[in-house]
Symmetry: C3
Subunit: 168 residues, 3 copies
């Protein structure tokens, strides 16, 4: 029936968009299963909280990129790292929610930038994350954000993002 | 009628308070209109998320203050910068909500302090923001806060604050 | 009656757990009473926001631990500091809510780690906080988290955690 068809299309809109953009998600990380004392996604009502994610693939033992931006990495490499962070988050959301279409809106994100002492291009780096989310979710992807410089980051990854999304 | 009159007075209470305190807001920034991939305020139900704001005036091409506190700037200058951050946030809220009176309570704020290696006066700096909010909103302005030191900040601003408020 | 008995046991479950674990809380801090312009806990509906807490005891004039992890302190000392942060938070929650049992779930935490330039063990440090919360709340204690390195922290404490919890 028409209504069901529309509903099916709607339910799969984000997955469809990922295919259009030829975006491939990494293997999900599995914080809790690996004996950690925290979770990657926590749902409370219509809000899902996302843990800080680095540029990681759950199938790899080490981060996909490491280094300090402005010292070891260029701003462009930082941008790529931030995009990889977004992909890792999507893998976590998909694992937790089953369907990425359950994410109706992105609300806020904080991107911690592992930056050299004189670096000021934090916004350019975090664009790697924000561009990805807006490419996929369109208007619903626009989030508030902050991009503070971190002195150091776990495992020396170049960027970590934590975020909050709305479920619809 | 009395009830309507009371309601009108209530609706304008914050705007009235700004006049009493002779607080002038800067021009609002316009992240999305300028082609950015994020927003300055995101409303979800009765919560509004505020992006990280620096000491900025939307009518100026560069931040109103730059520098690292403890190296380039004193703690007192940091305090003034944090107050300017608060004013920039109010401009964003007014632009997004129309009326600042729609903000019924301040919930939380994180102030990232661009601080020299041996600086420990983060609380004094963030007071520039917290004092402003409490002066205007009174009891409803009391927020939770954290004031971590950032190694660096975008455009070398001395302080960035991101916050969450309740709409009433 | 059985239902009442179950309810009574449920209401005191967290307090009971603290006794089992022989966990003693420090004296609560009192930000607002001491003339500060912020609060340690802010409740909005079923959510409570927690201010950034350091390893502090409200009965002591100075933090229980200070120093930069990797320079002045080992990762193990950082772990102990993060546990003390958790205890300070519990004291704040108990002061604000009356009963820790009102906290039904931990949602998210951000731990700012005062770390040396080449430190990468942030996760180990923040485990001091996460382990404590999960020991006490069990499944309901699993939270999302991020552990960015801070260049500096207020009063040179080794770690600050800010968090969000759900009230039930």
């Amino acid at each position: 029936m028409a209504a069901t068809g529309a509903s099916v299309r709607l339910m799969g809109a984000i997955e469809e968009r990922l295919r259009e953009l030829e975006v491939e998600l990494p293997a999900p990380l599995a914080a809790r299963d690996q004996g950690f004392n925290y979770v990657l996604v926590n749902v409370a009502g219509s809000i899902a909280y996302l843990a800080g994610h680095g540029p990681q693939d759950g199938g790899q033992p080490t981060p996909l990129m490491t280094g300090r931006i402005g010292d070891d990495l260029s701003a462009e490499e930082g941008y790529r790292a931030a995009r990889l962070v977004g992909l890792a988050m999507l893998a976590s959301l998909k694992q937790e929610l089953g369907e990425l279409d359950r994410v109706s809106r992105w609300l806020r994100a904080v991107g911690y930038i592992n930056a050299a002492h004189d670096f000021t291009g934090h916004a350019l780096v975090l664009n790697g994350f924000s561009d990805l989310i807006v490419e996929i979710w369109g208007d619903a992807g626009y989030h508030t954000r902050a991009a503070p410089g971190a002195a150091t980051l776990p495992f020396n990854v170049p960027v970590i993002v934590e975020a909050t999304v709305q479920l619809g």
